[in-house]
């Protein structure tokens, strides 16, 4: 393939707070091919959502892209105008969120909320858009779609609402779908259904998917490649099969060690890893020149505390890179 669909290079994001600037994302890079599925993993607060929002041009008001580029089909989204971003959002790149209960507008029917994107980006009239909305509801496997199209969000279950969100996101057949922890708030059985739906529809529409999750099981099931983030940085990237088999970064090893953690209490965030002591450092230290994982790492040496490790290829694997002074080598 020539150029990838999406190529993010050295993306940096900063927040401007009352106490000055803080780094939220530091040199995050990855590529995404057409129809490919990649997963972002890492503990809460590592910057996964911020990466996604940066791609969408939806950073919170205090945040701004401070460096790097987001190359999407030959266009740099990091410098694109707001008007151009509006054309792309919901049309070429769309996003679904963690909270299906609150992500739909309670005062409009779901049909209208789906039709809205079609009217906006496809220029459909009301009638046609509504008919399309019914098709889409069927596609996301909402039973009796023709009748449900006039329902309000509060008449739907959490899983159904997330399906509606998927219908909205896929309505314009985007090239990229970002799913930010789409099942965290849902029952386990519903989680599996949502993942299956995402995979099937993604394949059918040739939509590339960025799946953000804590759930290593979902990663294995959903994605071809994965990107492990820690404290606003990419610490490891590669094919899912390679990384799960032989994680090179001590942090990744810790994450994988808690795979059986598919608890029924899915709404609870994974605040800290049972296998790794300590917590994600405060955001104020995200920009430091050091390995930010060092304080929690059993393998840390002096260099880890004083210098930033550069990403390097992992021997024996294609396209597997790790940013660590003392990576694990060979099998787990």
């Amino acid at each position: 393939m020539a150029t990838p669909l999406l190529e993010v290079r050295d993306l940096g994001v900063r927040f401007t707070t009352r106490d000055g600037q803080v780094t939220v994302l530091d040199d995050v890079s990855f590529t995404l091919e057409r129809g490919e599925r990649i997963s972002f993993v890492g503990e809460s607060g590592c910057g996964k959502s911020m990466t996604a929002l940066a791609l969408m041009g939806l950073l919170p008001a205090m945040g701004q892209v401070s460096g790097g580029s987001i190359n999407f089909k030959g266009e740099d989204l990091a410098t694109a105008s707001e008007a151009r971003m509006r054309q792309i959002r919901g049309n070429e790149i769309s996003m679904i969120f963690q909270e299906p209960m609150t992500s739909l507008n309670p005062v409009f029917t779901i049909g209208r909320q789906i039709a809205e994107v079609l009217q906006l980006h496809r220029g459909l009239d009301r009638r046609t858009a509504r008919a399309r909305a019914i098709d889409l509801l069927e596609a996301v496997r909402i039973p009796n779609a023709a009748a449900r199209v006039d329902d309000y969000p509060h008449q739907l279950s959490g899983g159904q609402r997330q399906r509606v969100m998927i219908a909205i996101a896929l309505a314009c057949e985007p090239e990229v779908l970002i799913a930010d922890e789409p099942t965290t708030a849902l029952d386990v059985t519903v989680q599996a259904e949502i993942f299956a739906l995402l995979r099937d529809l993604g394949a059918k529409l040739e939509t590339a998917i960025i799946l953000i999750t804590h759930d290593m099981g979902a990663v294995a099931q959903m994605a071809e490649r994965m990107l492990v983030m820690y404290a606003g940085r990419r610490v490891e990237e590669g094919r899912v099969a390679d990384i799960i088999k032989a994680p090179a970064h001590p942090y990744t090893r810790g994450l994988i060690a808690c795979v059986p953690h598919i608890s029924t209490d899915a709404t609870r965030r994974l605040e800290r890893l049972p296998e790794i002591d300590g917590i994600v450092p405060p955001i104020t230290s995200f920009g430091r020149d050091a390995c930010l994982f060092a304080p929690r790492c059993g393998r840390a040496s002096e260099v880890c505390h004083g210098e930033r490790p550069a990403p390097a290829g992992v021997a024996g694997h294609k396209a597997h890179s790790v940013a660590c002074w003392h990576p694990h080598e060979g099998g787990a």
Binding site: M56, L58, M85, R86, Q87, I88, R89, G90, N91, S94, M95, F97, E99, T102, S103, L104, N105, P106, V107, F108, T109, E116, V117, L120, H121, Y152, H154, Q155, M165, I168
Partner: protein
Amino acid sequence: MAVRAGYALALLLAVVILNFTLIHIAPGDIADTIAGDMGGATEEVMAQIRADYGLDKPFPVQLGIYLGNVVRLDFGYSFFFNTPVTSLIAERLPATLLLVFTAQIFALVIGVVLGVISARRPHGLLSHFVTLLALFGYSAPVFWTGIMLLIGLSLLLPLFPVAGMIDVALIDAPLWRQYLSVAHHLFLPALTLASIFLALYSRLTRASMLEVLGADYIRTARAKGLSERDTVYRHALKNSLGPVVTLAGLQFSAVVSGAVLVETVFSWPGLGTLALQSILARDTPTILGILFFSALVVIVGNLLTDLALRLIDPRIRGGGG
């Protein structure tokens, strides 16, 4: 809705009973008043008047008779105006309704617009202006605001008429000219009355809007590629109206109270000016009738509020009621 209506009727009934009882236990009665008007009367005449008005019967019987009449919308006869109370009120009620509802709509529309604009720049100049306006609206006596507007915009700068509801010269003019004249007369009183509530609504709109703008579904709207304007005015606004409409509903009693003062300032021929006249004349049948109808205005206002809330929020619509 049927339950609400039934409940509203019960409230009205309570209003009638309370007021009737109050007037009964107050010292003096109609006979005294009429006698006072006539400059004194003999005991026989007094007794005759009392018999005419049914005042010689026991209180529960009087109340029963009165309630029976009220059900037939018969509020008795005003000895002061020499007219049946019902027709007296029918003549004045439309003016008050016009004033009260126009003021509420003024206050809501202007208040919501100011609130939304200041929510989009919570620390901007307009935001501070809204806060100041809120303090003014709450703190200035409404009759004084009215007089100040009157001095400024009717006397110094003769833009608006000083008093009344319509230009009497237009009695034979085409209807649209008359409507226009009413609107012209209505503007200052309605604005004055709205000034109490306008800033209240804009402050709440601002707070409610700021909360809604942080909601997940607003992020969804942005992620769809909607423009900022559509996001704010289509998605956020409808969601933030609920608390404002609820507040507006709670204000109806205060709006009617304010209307009494505003009507007096602008000589607006509504229930308020009638109330003052009949109270000064101790014209009890008229007073009772006015209290009934003004409570009715408040209750109807509350029902309309409920209806508006249902239109805004499907989650309320879903439940029974």
